[in-house]
């Protein structure tokens, strides 16, 4: 760190990303509460454990190979080979991936991306509650969290990604690179997994399976909102000089940038985060006729729909984009449920997947002609590039691997829990052991009391 200004900028950036990571932890807490609130009593502990174990499994695999993929894959395989040079510093045996006083950024930058990985995996986890085997879900968590989402990030969420360069793909706050891909992946899995018992009547009419605890669900969604602030901040470079960017920018005005190193500001994204959330909440309240579950989720869907362009939108545009997106997503969810008999238990495919796709397409029109990058030779933002990008995110890197891997698991008989266990509840065995242990210790205490002695140690 040469010079005081450079040292200050480095330490500020280090601390900035560290704070975003702590905030983003709340997203996972929120997902856990949401899933437990939405599941029935007899499945609580397994639902919770399924989501908690995503944390270590995605973390270690993201350390072993996920982070390397981000740096090595921006042009691979269609527009160049693997970037071994950029990838080298991010291999698990690199000295940069450790305590190193000449590199103060890699750890916090890695962690910011890692928290996105947890989110991608957790989105899938919500759609499949109460009937998937934990072992199957944890394989999906690693695949979406440490392989497929980070490939899409290298392609479409990297300053040198081929989708940015050749398609003009613009997705500043991850409508596609996190939400569309995770929603698409979840759709692929639930198509193979099948619905929960009782979800559809004999004539195919869908039944509502209400959350057992709406309060927990509410707190969960608000924790997700809180964590989403950190997510938005983590998508920016907080401060950088034109020289540091090294693109076409002239002058010496420092700026915050999006992930593509194109200028934006925290002020802009704060306006747009809140306005798109509000548009989503208001539209969801109206379209769902005041349904609490959909209204709360609608705020999230509003943000996700506007996220692709929230670095550049006007706040009223963000509000209207959020509102329009939620109406489309809500209608699409019920159409898909009725038509294809799919059970998306927490609306994850809709709130994340469809919102992400709709948001990408809208951004293609609203930001038509805007520069996607500060570097020369990159395509500008356009509707065709955004539509192709949405297909790649939702379909190619999301739905397809989710479907294929779930098919392989189903063929091996390791995807779905047995019907008997689904009926008695995933927690039945543990609950039984708990009741037995409780009865035994109560009996021992009573015996000690009646005998006048001290309880056994």
């Amino acid at each position: 760190m040469d010079g005081n200004l450079n040292a200050l900028t480095t330490v500020f950036t280090e601390f900035y990303y560290w704070v975003t990571v702590v905030f983003m932890f709340l997203i996972h807490v929120g997902f856990c509460m949401y899933e437990v609130g939405a599941s029935r009593h007899r499945n609580h502990m397994h639902t919770l454990m399924k989501n908690i174990m995503i944390i270590p499994l995605v973390t270690v695999t993201f350390f072993f190979f996920g982070w390397w993929i981000y740096w090595a894959f921006p042009s691979f395989p269609f527009f160049g080979g693997l970037n071994y040079e950029a990838g080298a510093a991010n291999l698990p045996w690199s000295q940069n991936m450790a305590t190193n006083l000449s590199d103060r950024i890699t750890g916090v930058f890695w962690a910011a991306f890692l928290l996105f990985s947890w989110t991608a995996a957790s989105i899938v986890s919500g759609a499949v509650i109460e009937r998937i085997r934990s072992s199957a879900l944890w394989v999906h968590a690693v695949m979406i969290g440490s392989v497929f989402w980070i490939i899409d990030a290298a392609w479409g969420w990297h300053a040198e990604g081929w989708m940015v360069k050749y398609l003009g793909y613009h997705d500043a706050y991850a409508s596609g690179v996190i939400h569309a891909i995770a929603g698409g992946y979840a759709l692929g899995v639930i198509m193979v997994l099948g619905p929960r018992l009782g979800k559809f009547a004999a004539d195919g009419t869908p039944r509502d399976i209400p959350p057992h605890n709406p309060w927990m669900l509410t707190i969960g969604i608000f924790l997700i909102y809180s964590g989403f602030w950190g997510f938005y901040a983590a998508c920016n470079i907080p401060v950088i000089s034109p020289e540091g960017i090294g693109g076409m920018l002239t002058g010496d005005t420092w700026t915050a940038t999006n992930i593509y190193l194109a200028p934006t500001s925290l002020s802009a994204i704060t306006f747009n985060f809140l306005m798109s959330m509000s548009g989503g909440l208001m539209a969801a309240y109206v379209v769902s006729k005041g349904d609490a579950f959909w209204t709360f989720s609608g705020g999230l869907a509003g943000i996700i729909t506007a996220s692709a362009g929230n670095d550049l939108y006007h706040p009223i545009q963000a509000m209207l984009v959020g509102a329009v997106g939620v109406v489309i997503v809500y209608k699409l969810h019920y159409w898909v449920e009725r038509t294809f008999k799919l059970d998306d238990a927490v609306g994850a495919v809709a709130v994340h997947g469809y919102s992400g796709v709709v948001g990408l397409i809208i951004a293609g029109f609203l930001l038509w002609g805007a520069p996607s990058s500060p570097y020369e030779g990159f395509a500008t933002v356009n509707p065709v590039g955004q539509v192709v990008g949405a297909v790649i995110m939702f379909g190619v890197l999301g739905w397809l691997p989710g479907f294929v891997i779930a098919k392989m698991q189903a063929a091996a008989g390791v995807l779905r829990i047995p019907v008997e266990v689904e009926l008695q509840g995933l927690d039945y065995a543990e609950h039984h052991a708990y009741e037995d242990a409780k009865a035994e210790i109560i009996a021992a205490d009573k015996a000690a009391l009646n005998g006048g002695g001290v309880p056994a140690e």
Binding site: P242, G247, M248, L249, T250, G251, T253, T255, A262, P263, G279, M282, Y285, V286, K289, G290, L312, Y313, H314, I316, Q317, M319, L320, A323, L366, L367, W368, G369, A370, P371, S373, P374, E376, T380
Partner: protein
């Protein structure tokens, strides 16, 4: 041609102001936003009125007593 007024970032940021799409249409955007907000209140008022009309005839005396006891 770009909706944000810039088709390249070959600029000095000291000379750049607004970069949102369709600058110059702020008045129209505010009108659209206010219409959305007022329409929301109108729809909500009407729906809640209809709901309360239905709800006041739904109560079963026995169930209401038990709800009162439940606090």
């Amino acid at each position: 041609m770009s909706t944000i007024g810039y088709d390249s970032w070959a600029v000095d940021l000291a000379e750049v102001g607004a970069v949102y799409p369709f600058q110059g249409s702020e008045g129209l955007m505010v009108v659209l936003g206010v219409v959305f907000w007022i329409a929301w209140h109108r729809i909500q008022f009407v729906r809640e009125g209809q709901h309360l009309e239905k709800a006041k005839r739904m109560g079963d005396t026995e169930k209401i007593h038990s709800l009162l006891e439940k606090y």
